[in-house]
Each structure stands twice: as C-alpha cells, then as structure tokens.
C-alpha cells in the first residue's frame, strides 16, 4: 500500500523532532530512512506506525487518512531493534499472536492460524524451532521471529526500526541480503530506519537522508552517492574531502594558483569544493592542479590511501590510489578531482 506523509511536524515538549516533512512511499517499495542519531528518522517511522502522533500534518495509507486511526487500527507490522518478543510465549505463539487476539468475527480458525504461522516460520527459515522460547534463540533468529510475527497480520506496511542494529557484523550482512529476498518475494511496502549507510545503499530501492528533523535528499542509492545535493549528504554518505576554494572568472583557485577545474556560470567568490577520494586523477605537470605533500600512506585492501597536506589551502585531504602506485613520505603529488561539487555559502 502507498504511504504518504504530508507536512508532518512533531515536537517533544518544545524540542522539534521533525519539521515539515513530506514523503511519498510507493506501493511495494523498500525504502530506507538514513541519518545520524537525532535526525528524526525513528520518530518519522513511529509516526507512520501510529506509536506517536504528529503535532501537525497527516499520514495517508492509500487514500485514507490514517492519522486519526490508533496504532491497533492501522494494521502495520513493526519490527523493533531489540526484537520485543513475548518471552513467555513459544516462537509459534509469538508469530500467531496478532491473529489470535482478533475479535472472533475476523479471527481465522485455530488450524488456519497455526498453518499460517508455520508457513511464515518456513519463510524466515526457522522451521522446526516453533516450540522454542525466545530465550533459546540467537539474536539473528529472534529478529527473524519478530519479522514473521509482524508479517502474520498481513500488514499494510512493514516498518523496521534499526532491525539489524543489535546484531554482530557477520549476521547483519547475512540478514540484510535475506531481508531483500523476503521483500522481493512478499512485496510488502517496507520502510526501515538505519544509521548505517552501507545498509541503506545496499538494501533500499530509495534512500531518504535525514538530518536535524528534516529530509535532506530522497533518491536511489546511485543518486544519493553520485549526486548528493547538500554538503551534509556529501559528507554523511561515503568518504569526502573538503577544500576551501575561490571562484574567479569561471575557474577554481586555491591561493594563487588555478587548479584546472572550471566552474562556468558560478559567481566570483569563496566556496567549498567537495570530492571523493577515488574521484581524482594524478598529473605530472604542476600547472592547473592541486599539489600536496604526502604525510601518511596506508594500504587498505585493494587501494592505497594517501593523506596529503595541501599547503596553499592549509588543509588535509585523503585520496585513493591504485596499490602499485608507491609514494614516499614527503614527496609531492599533483592531482585534479574528476568528479566534484561546489557548495557556496
């Protein structure tokens, strides 16, 4: 089901947690809310769920105004970071819970509930563990039970709050791939919150980058990574370098040298040049380039990371070079960014 969030504002006391946020989630989409802690991403998720109510604004499920509905009426599936399983119930009872508590008119027959719960356990690859109690499961298994429990009620939308946040790195990666598979198989509209950009970029159809209670950018993982539209997004997603530059006659300057990057149409004046460590080319000449003194080099897996002191700008940058390129400390390197973005104050 489509979910539309319209001009939502949420204040806790007098502290604004969300400020005029609007978001359209398409039916069947897997969408990530990404941001640092305090960015309001979890609040937005809880507002969609109905666990919080907005100070202003509306949430639509399809064409229906869901804002007036209680969390019970919204029929959503919610997965918590710390699983929130019912520990006095077996795995099977946990998964069946949402169906067994329905009023008798809407409650499926006992045998059907059991059948459905077992099917879901099969889907999350926990067949045979239905008689266990949550305390007898590993973290990854508990989270899968929680997902099966949330899906049992055929939710309008599946909401996951840092679903892998409490798991160790290995399990996390595994579950990430597995969640994508489940999503592709069941087609539930899914929103998940994460502060892990790798998770968001790898898993989601679209990523919503949030900061300080506002949406900074919405886009596919490619768009977010390749064309960040604000200094925040550029700095938050992936590695980035920032150099103070000056625009003069459509050229970028650092100190008294042009760096060979043209910025046509930009007004003269200061700005910040953002570029990623791998979006550079090395140059031999010392004209029209950025030069710096090598301070540290580190070999990281398939690349060599080189830290440079850019003397003219009094700042440091880090660039990535192929490992066969050996640089000695205190040698001078000339390079030019191939992809970059200029942000003006």
């Amino acid at each position: 089901m489509e979910v539309r969030v319209q001009n939502i504002r949420k204040e806790f006391g007098r502290f604004p947690a969300l400020n005029d946020v609007s978001l359209d989630i398409r039916s069947g989409e897997l969408i990530a809310l990404l941001g640092p802690s305090g960015s309001g991403k979890t609040t937005l998720l809880r507002l969609i769920a109905g666990l919080e109510s907005p100070t202003e604004g509306t949430v639509y499920f399809g064409n229906e105004d869901a804002s007036r509905k209680t969390v019970q009426q919204r029929n959503i599936g919610f997965v918590f970071q710390h699983y929130a399983l019912f520990r006095h119930m077996t795995v099977l009872d946990n998964v069946s819970f949402g169906l067994t508590i329905r009023p008798s008119g809407r409650r499926p027959a006992k045998a059907d509930i059991r059948k459905r719960a077992l099917e879901l356990l099969d889907l999350v690859q926990l067949s045979g563990l239905e008689k266990r109690y949550p305390a007898q499961l590993s973290g990854g298994q508990r989270q899968r039970v929680a997902l099966a429990r949330a899906m049992a009620v055929e939710p309008n939308v599946l909401l996951l709050d840092e679903p892998f946040g409490a798991l160790d790195a290995q399990v996390r990666k595994e579950l990430r791939r597995w969640l994508r598979e489940i999503h592709d198989r069941t087609g539930h509209t899914t929103v998940f919150v994460t502060h892990d950009q790798d998770e968001a970029l790898e898993l989601a159809d679209r990523v919503v980058v949030m900061s300080k209670g506002q949406i900074e950018q919405i886009g596919t993982p490619d768009e977010i990574y390749d064309t960040p539209n604000s200094p925040f997004v550029f700095g938050f997603i992936g590695e980035s370098n920032i150099l103070p530059v000056r625009v003069e006659n459509g050229q970028l300057w650092i100190g008294d040298r042009s760096i060979g990057v043209s910025a046509q149409g930009e007004a003269d004046g200061p700005g910040q040049l953002y570029f990623r460590p791998h979006d550079i080319e090395l140059l031999d000449s010392s004209d029209g380039c950025i030069t710096g003194l090598v301070t540290v080099t580190r070999r990281v897996a398939g690349t060599r990371h080189v830290e440079l002191d850019i003397d003219a700008a009094h700042s440091k940058v880090e660039i990535e070079l192929p490992p066969e390129k050996v640089t000695s400390d205190h040698s001078r390197i000339a390079f030019r960014p191939t992809r970059w973005k200029l942000f003006r104050d």
Partner: protein, 264 residues
C-alpha cells in the same frame, strides 16, 4: 571450599535448630503429639495464622503489583519518597507498626471510630490481623516484582499494540503472564512472612482464644506455662505446613520457569 562454607553455615543456622525441633517433637510420641496438635485451641490458632497470612498475601499480590507498576512506569512528584516508603515495613520494628495500626483501627481510633457506627469491627478480629499482615508483607511483593517489571521493555507493549492488541489484551496476555513467576515468589515471601509474624499482630489481634489468637502467640503462651510439649507440637505442625506450602509454590515456579523459558 565455597560449598563447604555454605553447607556448614546452612547446617549451623537452619538445619540444627530445625532438627532439634523435630527431635523434641518426635520424643513426644505419636499419640501425645496427635492429641496436642488436634487440640481445638491449637487448630483454631493454626487456621487463623495460615488463613490470615494467605488472605493478606493475596491482597498484597493485587495491590503490590499495581504499586510496583506505578513506581516503574509513571513519573510524578514525590515518587522517590513513595518508593522509599515501601521499605518502611521492613525497617520499622513490627511492634511499632502493631501499635500504630491498633490506634487507628481500635473502636475509638481514627478509622475505627468511623467504622464502629456501621457495625464494622477491625481491631481485635481476624480482619485486624489481615490488616497488620498486609502492612508487613507489602514490600516483599513490590520488591520482587519491581525489578522484573523494570526489565519489561516498553517496546514489548508497543509490539503488542502494533499487532492489534488492545490495552486489556496487552495486560492479560503479554504483561501479566511474563510477571507470573515473580508474582508467585512475592506471594510466597509475603505469605511466609505473614505466617511467622508476631510483633505487629499481637497488638491488633486482641488475642481472643479460638477467635483471634495466632499460632506463634499460642506457642509463647504454652512456653510461659512451661508446657514445652504443646509448644513443640504447634511449632512442628507450623513447620510441616509452611514447608509443604513453600515446596508447592517452588514447584509451580520451577514449572512456569521452564515453560516461560526464563533463566537461560
């Protein structure tokens, strides 16, 4: 080493006195023991002791759970003071509590004088005993249930709500079953305390033989009469009943623990 210390301490503190009691009562001979134990005054005293302790423990379970819930979940001014007050019955000499309660509930006391015209008598009746036992037993329930409640995540309630459970279903199917083992422990402790309570009860009970005389008091009376066989017999019966009840409660607990998968 640790086991050795534990065992010798247990033997010294618990086992030797108890076996002394068993030895003394077995020295009575079965016939004498039976006559002494089934004496009408003794039977009534035992019934009053266990009956009032049971009733008080039940009342404490209900209100202790509610009180613990409020202390865990709500913020209000004076919360810390109320939290500290729960321990008062632990710290207060029980005789002080007994005197205070008697002054309140005696027919000429603050509350007693209001109830007297309605024909309700609390002090000097078994009801008064229950009141005193509720007072001394309350912290046992609150303090056993409270830490378990604190462990219950707010998220568990929210999870139930997102699955469609209303407040009543959340409480009855999610929260209370999870608390059952702790509530049972609290009940057992409050009950055990109530059975053995002496100081606070003897003031408010009036101590009328056959009506509001508790077993521990009867033991003291028999001792003062130098009637050691009768005192021993009552004590032995109390020991057997208490032991049996605690055993049953422990078994229920172990069962629920297994079932609910705690402790692993």
């Amino acid at each position: 080493m640790a086991l050795g210390v534990t065992l010798s301490w247990l033997i010294l503190i618990i086992l030797i006195p108890l076996s002394g009691l068993a030895w003394r009562s077995s020295a009575l001979g079965w016939g004498t023991f039976w006559t002494l134990a089934t004496d009408q005054r003794t039977v009534n005293a035992l019934r009053i002791s266990f009956g009032t302790a049971f009733a008080a423990a039940l009342i404490n379970v209900v209100f202790g759970v509610i009180l613990a819930w409020v202390l865990v979940r709500y913020r209000f001014p004076g919360k810390r003071i109320i939290d500290a007050m729960v321990d008062l019955p632990f710290a207060l000499p029980t005789a002080v509590a007994g005197i205070a309660l008697t002054t309140l509930y005696a027919p000429n006391g603050w509350i007693g004088s209001l109830l007297a015209p309605l024909g309700i008598k609390i002090a000097f009746t078994p009801i008064g005993i229950v009141f005193a036992l509720v007072f001394v037993g309350l912290p046992f329930v609150v303090r056993t249930v409270q830490p378990i409640m604190e462990e219950i995540d707010k998220e568990v309630e929210e999870a139930a709500a997102t699955l469609g459970a209303n407040r009543f279903q959340t409480i009855s199917r999610v929260l209370l079953p999870g608390l059952a083992p702790a509530v049972l422990t609290g009940f057992a402790l409050a009950f055990a305390r109530g059975v053995g309570e002496y100081g606070s009860v003897i003031f408010i009970a009036g101590n009328l033989p056959y009506i509001s005389e508790i077993a521990p008091l009867l033991i003291v009376i028999r001792l003062e009469e130098f009637n050691y066989p009768a005192a021993t017999a009552i004590a032995a019966v109390m020991l057997i009943i208490s032991f049996a009840m605690l055993l049953i409660i422990n078994m229920i607990q172990a069962w629920s623990r297994r079932r609910y998968g705690y402790g692993s």
